[in-house]
Symmetry: C2
DNA sequence: TAAATAGTGTCTCTTAGACAATATTAT
DNA sequence: ATAATATTGTCTAAGAGACACTATTTA
């Protein structure tokens, strides 16, 4: 009867707690990875979990998500794509008390991260394969699956995939990013011709050295965002 | 200083209240309508609002939505399509205290409603055009707009539109339902040929009398739901 | 018969997808 | 030259959309 559970009495509260959880995606080592943190306290002590925290009374849900994002990755709002995923609120998802969590998805370019390989040595925070994550706390496995599905969906229907790349990129790098997230190979010629028609990227006068012919660098056209929203990029 | 606002002290609470709001759509009088209720209390007294209520500590968000839906329309879970829309939580959206609301969209066939024209005479509950609603309380105008957008989107990409029709329907009625929601006219021939290919409906051996040649009645094929999910029906 | 509605077929133009050909660099 | 990568082009089959035609009922 001395379990840590005794410290929590659900009856003390007649209102649920509200948290935000942020599934933070990035492309690292040619893989789609999500940032996870290792829990130090009961419940699910020692389990990996999606980063998140309580919503403060005076901040919006979005602000709370950006705040947590900044705390975990030190990345600013301007350098990240953030969108609400959905809200999870089964009564027993947290053994302490009723916790309703508003889940968000964030896309961060690897170039924005200061320690892109922190997960390899740090014990309590790290990047893990989004497809084969470790055992996760609470219903976080479920949330992560939802997030991956949404990301794939978004990538097919909008130009949001650019958020996973640095500001300048080659078309090959862009195609590889799409292939990693969609988990399928794409035809080089068709990928490029569609991209040309969609007019969401523009070439800059720079090239990247490769093993063969240097590759032209491209930039995402900001003014094309709205236009592309309703159009399928890669059906 | 005797305003009703004095009855509420936000400082008393360190946790937000959580509600569910349900945007209930139906096709009535050849229009897309949403069920609204008239508020009797401050704030927004006398304004129309999207029905909703507090989430109880032991019920899931979905259960809360179904409960409210039943209370407002007396329609059972089995007779309705319900899906989470998104969560709205700006700190000042409710002047009483911090209220975070999880919004849902519900589609109800007109044949499932017991008083499909209640709005015409009842003073505190009624069906209103989803496109030109009256002035709404809180941020409900915003929520309703989101709901309409989602409905259109869903209709294009899935077979969910059938939920707005009775069990048996003619292809013309189905086309009209789509035209009402999408707010555009569709070609009869193309509509029907796509529908034939998609195999989401099946003919029954019944006909409906019309002004001319009787129209064959169709039924939605339940086993086609999952299959259609990822496929665009009317691109 | 005409009017009204149901139901099917045909044609064209666009585009997705498979595949091939050419271009430019390093070694 | 050869290898490696970048970049563009061609062909075909499928599909979207415009439009016309036939079918079956009532008045």
């Amino acid at each position: 009867m001395n379990s840590p559970a005794d410290a929590y009495n659900p009856a003390d509260y007649d209102r649920p707690s509200v948290t935000v959880d942020i599934v933070i995606f990035s492309l690292l080592d040619a893989q789609l990875k999500a940032l996870l943190i290792k829990r130090k306290l009961w419940p699910y002590e020692g389990y990996w979990a999606i980063p998140g925290g309580f919503v403060e009374m005076t901040e919006s849900l979005e602000d709370a998500a950006y705040r947590e994002l900044k705390e975990e990755t030190n990345v600013d709002r301007a350098d990240v794509y953030l969108e609400q995923l959905r809200t999870f609120g089964k009564p027993d998802r947290d053994p302490r008390t009723r916790v309703i969590t508003v889940a968000y998805v964030a896309l961060v370019g690897a170039d924005k991260l200061q320690n892109p390989r922190a997960g390899d040595d740090a014990a309590d925070v790290g990047w893990f394969s989004a497809y084969k994550p470790p055992r996760l706390a609470f219903d976080h496995h479920h949330i992560l699956k939802h997030a991956v599905t949404r990301l794939r969906y978004k990538l097919e229907y909008s130009a949001v995939g650019f958020q996973l790349l640095p500001e300048l990129f080659t078309l090959r790098e862009l195609q590889q990013a799409y292939e990693i997230v969609l988990d399928e190979t794409l035809d080089k010629g068709n990928f490029r011709s569609k991209l040309r028609k969609s007019k969401v990227v523009e070439a800059v006068k720079l090239y990247r050295q490769t093993g063969g012919r240097p590759a032209r660098l491209y930039r995402f056209k900001d003014d094309a965002v709205a236009e592309v929203k309703a159009r399928r990029l890669f059906p």
